[in-house]
Amino acid sequence: MENEAKRNFLELFLLLDRRIIYTLVALAVAIPLIWPIGLPIRITPEVQSVFDKIENLPEGSNIMMSADFDPASQPELYPMMKAVMRHIARKKHKLAITVLWPNGPNLVAQCIEEVKEEYPNWRSGDDFVFLGYQVGGTIVIIGVGNSFVETFPKDYYGNATSTMPVIKNFNRLGQADYMIMFEAGNSGDWWIVYGTEVHDVEVGGGVTAVVAPQYYPYLQAKQLNGIIGGLKGAAEYEMLMEHPDMAVAAMDSQSMVHALLFVAIVLANIFAFALAIQKRNAARREK
C-alpha cells in the first residue's frame, strides 16, 4: 500500500502539469527582478581580453563593429553592444558600424542614441559612422575590406560617407586596429574567413549563449582574442566598465531559472530511475 502511494507520487511528479512548470519559471524570472539578490559576478578571461584590448588601444584608434542580430537576440546582445559602444565612446576611439541582418539597423540606431545621451560630444561623421545594412553577407564583408565608401556610399542616416572626417583615416577593414562583432548566428564565421584573417585585424566576439560554443575553436586558435558570451558576458562587461545596467539587473533572474531547471532535471531523473526500479521489482513479484 505504501509502495503504491509512493509510486503514485513518483508518477504524479513525472507527469507534472506544464502550467505548474510555467508558473515556477515565471516566478523565478520575476521575483529576483523585483527583489534583486545581488549574486557576485566573476569576470572570465574571455571577456577581460575584449575589455583590455579596447581599454589599452591609444585614444582615437579605429574600431570596426558589426551588429549581426535582430530583436530575437536583443535581450542578450543589446546590453553587451551598449556596454562596448559606451566603452569606445569613453575612450574616444573612431568607430565604423555595419549590420549584416536586415532587421538589425534600428537596434543599432537606438543604441547609438542611448550612448549619445551619455556622451553628447560623440558625433556621427566625426567620431563614428553607422554604415547601416547592405544585402549580401559575405560580399559585404569583402566589400568593406576594399572600401567603406564604395560599399556604403551613404550611411544609415542618408549622409554621404565620402565627405565624413572619420572616413579619412578609416575607409576599409584593414585600417581597423580592432574589430568587435555581435553575432546571433554564423555571420561571425564569415567575418573571420573573409574579413579579419584576410586583412590581419584582431577581432573579439560578442555572441549569444546558444552560439557561443561554436566560437570557442576560434578563441583557442587566436582568431578571436576574446568572447563575450550571452547575458552573463554582457554583465561581466558592464562590471568591468563599472556601469551596471540591463545585463547585471537580469543576472539574478537568469541564475534562478538555471537553478530551477537544474533541480527539476535532477529530480526528474532520480524519480524516473526510482520508478523504473519499482516497476522492475513489481514485475519480478508478479512472476
Binding site: 512548470i21 535581450p75 561554436q214
Partner: protein, 210 residues
C-alpha cells in the same frame, strides 16, 4: 536555347571560379582590380537575388490565396503586411520616427520578443520531461549540460568557483574538440563542393537535379 540553359552556366561557373582561384596567386594590380570589380558585381547580383526572393515569396502566397488552401488567411496577412511595409518604407524611408520605424518598435520587436520569451517556458517544460539519462552516453551529456548550465551563471560561482572553472573546461576542451572536427569537416566539404561546381560535376545549383 539549350546551350544557354545547360552549357553556358557551367562554362561561366568554370571561367569565374578559375579566374578567382588563379587571381589569388597573381601579385599584380590587375588581379586586385579584378577582385574589386567582381566584388561590386556580386553586390549587384545579390541585390537582384533579393528581388527574386521577394517575388517568389509573393507568388507562393498569392497562389495560396487564389486556391483558398487551408490557412490561406495567414498568406493574406503576409501579403498585406509586405505591401504596406514596402509602401510606407518607400514613401517615408525606414529610419526611426517614420511609420516603418514605429511598426518595427511597436509590432515587430514585441512580437519577436514574445515568441522567444515563450520559448523559454517550452524549453523548461521539455527539458523536465525529455532530458533523461536512459543510456551511459545520455548520462554523460546530461552531467555536462547541467554543469555548464549552472556553472555559467553567477549562482554556480556562488555555490563553488570550481563549478564555473569546470564549465569553462568543458567549453574549452570537449566542446571545442568536437566543434573543431565539425568545422574542419564543413571546410573540406566546401572545398569539395566548390571544385565540383567549378568543373561542372555539381549542377544542382541550376535547378532540377543534374
Amino acid at each position: 536555347m539549350q546551350f544557354f540553359r545547360k552549357q553556358f552556366p557551367i562554362l561561366l561557373a568554370f571561367a569565374m571560379g578559375m579566374t578567382m582561384f588563379i587571381r589569388e596567386f597573381v601579385p599584380a594590380k590587375i588581379a586586385t582590380d579584378l577582385y574589386e570589380g567582381f566584388t561590386k558585381w556580386a553586390i549587384v547580383i545579390v541585390g537582384f537575388s533579393a528581388v527574386f526572393a521577394i517575388l517568389s515569396l509573393l507568388h507562393h502566397h498569392v497562389n495560396r490565396v487564389r486556391r483558398k488552401v487551408p490557412g490561406y488567411g495567414y498568406s493574406m496577412v503576409t501579403i498585406i503586411a509586405f505591401i504596406q511595409m514596402l509602401l510606407l518604407g518607400l514613401i517615408f524611408s525606414v529610419r526611426p520616427g517614420t511609420p516603418v520605424g514605429w511598426e518595427y518598435w511597436w509590432l515587430f520587436v514585441p512580437m519577436q520578443a514574445t515568441m522567444f520569451a515563450t520559448l523559454a517556458f517550452f524549453i523548461a517544460s521539455a527539458a523536465f520531461r525529455a532530458f533523461r539519462a536512459r543510456t551511459w552516453e545520455a548520462l554523460a551529456l546530461l552531467i555536462a549540460g547541467l554543469l555548464v548550465m549552472i556553472g555559467r551563471v553567477p549562482i554556480g560561482e556562488f555555490i563553488s568557483p570550481y563549478l564555473s572553472d569546470f564549465a569553462g573546461w568543458i567549453m574549452n576542451n570537449p566542446n571545442m574538440a568536437g566543434l573543431r572536427g565539425v568545422v574542419l569537416g564543413v571546410a573540406l566539404a566546401q572545398i569539395a563542393i566548390s571544385v565540383r561546381i567549378i568543373f561542372g560535376i555539381e549542377r544542382t545549383y541550376m535547378g532540377g537535379g543534374d
